[in-house]
Amino acid sequence: MTAWINTLLQGVMLGGLYALFAAGLSLMFGIMRLVNLAHGDFIVLSAFVILALSVALGLDPFLATLLAAPVLFFIGYALQHYLLNRTLGRDILPPLLVTFGLSIIIQNGLLEAFSADSQRLKAGAIETASISIGGGLAVGTMQLLTFASAIGVILALNFLFYRTELGRAFRATSDDPEIAQLMGIDNRHIFSLATAIAMVVIAVCALYLGMRANFDPTIGPARLLYAFEAVIIGGLGSLWGTLAGGIVIGVAQAIGAKIDPEWQILAGHLAFLAVLVLRPRGLFPRAGQ
C-alpha cells in the first residue's frame, strides 16, 4: 500500500515538471494561437544558457537562472518582434513552418556550440536531499521544489492575466485582435511581450530540467511532446488544467514504471490517448471556445 501511495506521490511531483514544460507553450498558444514547434528546443537552449552562465561565472544554477531570465526575456521579445509576428495571419501554416525550422536551427546551433555531450546543472547537496513526510514516505527536495515552482508559476501567470491591465490586454487580444486595436492596443507589442514572458517561464522550466536529469541538444522535441499532451489533457487555455494534465501524465508514467520500467513512457502517452478519446476537449475546457 505504502509503495503505491509513494508511486502516486512521485507521479504527482513529476507532473509539476510537465506542467512547467507546458506553461510556456500554453501561454503562447493562448494569446496568439501560435503553435510553437520549437518550444522544447527553447527549453534546451535555455538550459544551455543557464549552464554557460553558471560555468563561466561559477554560479549556483538558481543564481544563474536569475541572470538568464532577463536575457531570455529580451531574446523572446526580439524573436517575436522580428520574426514570429511576421508569420501570424489567417493562414496557420507559416508559424508552424518557421518554428519547425527554428527547432532544427537551435538543435544544430547547440551541437556546434556545446557538442553532443550530455550536460547537467550541478546543484550540490540539494540534488539528493529528501524530506520525510511520515508513514515511511519521503519526497525528494528537488521534486518538491519543482512542483512548488510549477504552482508558483501558474499563480503568477494567473495574477498577471486576471489582475493586471496587461493581462486584460492579453485576454482581449486573444479574444478579438481586430477590436483590441480599437482600444489602443498594439497587438504586435502585446504578442512580443507574451513570448518574452513565455521565455522567462521556459527559463524556470530549464533550471529544473537541467538539475534533475542529463540533457543534450537533441532532447527538445520529446519535451515538446509532453508539453503538448499536458496542455491538451488540461484543456486549451486553462493553466490549472495544464497542471492537471501534467499530473495525469506524471502519475501514469509512475504507475507504468512500477509495473515494468519499460512501460514508463508508453503509459504516459496511453493516458493522453485515453483522455483524448473520453474528453476530446480536455479536462477543463475554457467556456465558449
Binding site: 486584460r168 482581449a172 479574444d175 477590436i179 480599437l182 482600444m183 492596443i185 498594439d186
Partner: protein, 233 residues
C-alpha cells in the same frame, strides 16, 4: 469648426472597391447620420476612418491634420472611437473589464470614467462583474458604447447600434445621446432605421453603392428624395 473631414476617401477589400471617393465633414458638436441600404459602404466608411482598413494619408483629416492610414491603435489615441457593428465585446472579460480596456494604457483627463458610465447606463452597474456574454443584447450595446466612451473620444463612431434590439431598448440607448454630446463628443451614426436617424441627427448623408447619393438637414429632405437616394432611381 470642422473636426473631422474625409476627402475622396476610397476603400477596398482586396480587389473589390467598397468606397468611391467619399467627401464628408463633421463639425465640432455635430451629430451626423449615415443611412443607406445594405452594402452601401456605411460600415466600411467607419472602419476606414477608425484605421481598420487602409486609407491614403490625405483622405482623412482630424483638425486639418492628415491621419488617413494610421494604425487603429494610434487613431483611437487621437480621439476617434468606434462602437463596432455587432457590439464585439471581449467574451473573456467581465463587463467592467470591457469598460476599463476602453482606456487601455492611457490615463488622460476627460469627462468619462467608470462611475460616469454607470450613471449613464445604470443597467450596467448592477452587472459589472458578470461575463460580458451573459448580458442582454441591449446591455451589451450599452457596454460597447461605454467601452468606446472610456477612450474619451472627440469623435464617436456608432455602427448600427439599434441592430436587433427591441424598440424600447433602442429608445433607452438613444436617450443617452444628449449626455454623450454634452460631454463634448461629436457623433457619426450609421443607422438602418431611417426614422431614428432623421430624428437625432443634425445632418444626414445617404450612401448608395459606395458613393454619396444625398446630403442635407433632415428637415430639408423629402421622403421621395430619400427614397431615391436610398434605393436608386
Amino acid at each position: 469648426m470642422t473636426l473631422l473631414e474625409t476627402r475622396g476617401l476610397t476603400a477596398f477589400y482586396g480587389d473589390f472597391q467598397a468606397l468611391y471617393g467619399i467627401d464628408l465633414r463633421l463639425e465640432e458638436g455635430e451629430t451626423l447620420a449615415i443611412i443607406g441600404a445594405n452594402g452601401a459602404g456605411k460600415s466600411t466608411f467607419l472602419e476606414t476612418v477608425a484605421g481598420l482598413l487602409p486609407a491614403a494619408p490625405q483622405s482623412v483629416l482630424l483638425d486639418g491634420k492628415q491621419i488617413g492610414g494610421l494604425p487603429a491603435a494610434e487613431i483611437v489615441r487621437l480621439g476617434i472611437s468606434l462602437v463596432p457593428e455587432g457590439r464585439r465585446l471581449f467574451p473573456s472579460l467581465s463587463v467592467e473589464e470591457n469598460l476599463l480596456i476602453g482606456a487601455y494604457g492611457r490615463d488622460q483627463a476627460g469627462y468619462w470614467s467608470l462611475p460616469r458610465i454607470y450613471e449613464l447606463f445604470p443597467a450596467l452597474a448592477a452587472r459589472r462583474h458578470v461575463p460580458s456574454q451573459t448580458l442582454s443584447g441591449g446591455e451589451q450595446q450599452m457596454a460597447a458604447i461605454g467601452r468606446a466612451l472610456m477612450a474619451k473620444p472627440r469623435v464617436l463612431l456608432c455602427d448600427e447600434i439599434s441592430l436587433g434590439l427591441a424598440p424600447i431598448v433602442i429608445r433607452n440607448i438613444y436617450a443617452a445621446l444628449p449626455r454623450i454630446k454634452a460631454s463634448g463628443a461629436s457623433v457619426i451614426l450609421v443607422e438602418q432605421d431611417i426614422v431614428q436617424a432623421l430624428e437625432v441627427s443634425d445632418r444626414v448623408y445617404c450612401f448608395q453603392e459606395g458613393r454619396m447619393s444625398l446630403t442635407g438637414r433632415p428637415a430639408d429632405l423629402g421622403r421621395e428624395q430619400i427614397h431615391t437616394a436610398y434605393f436608386g432611381a
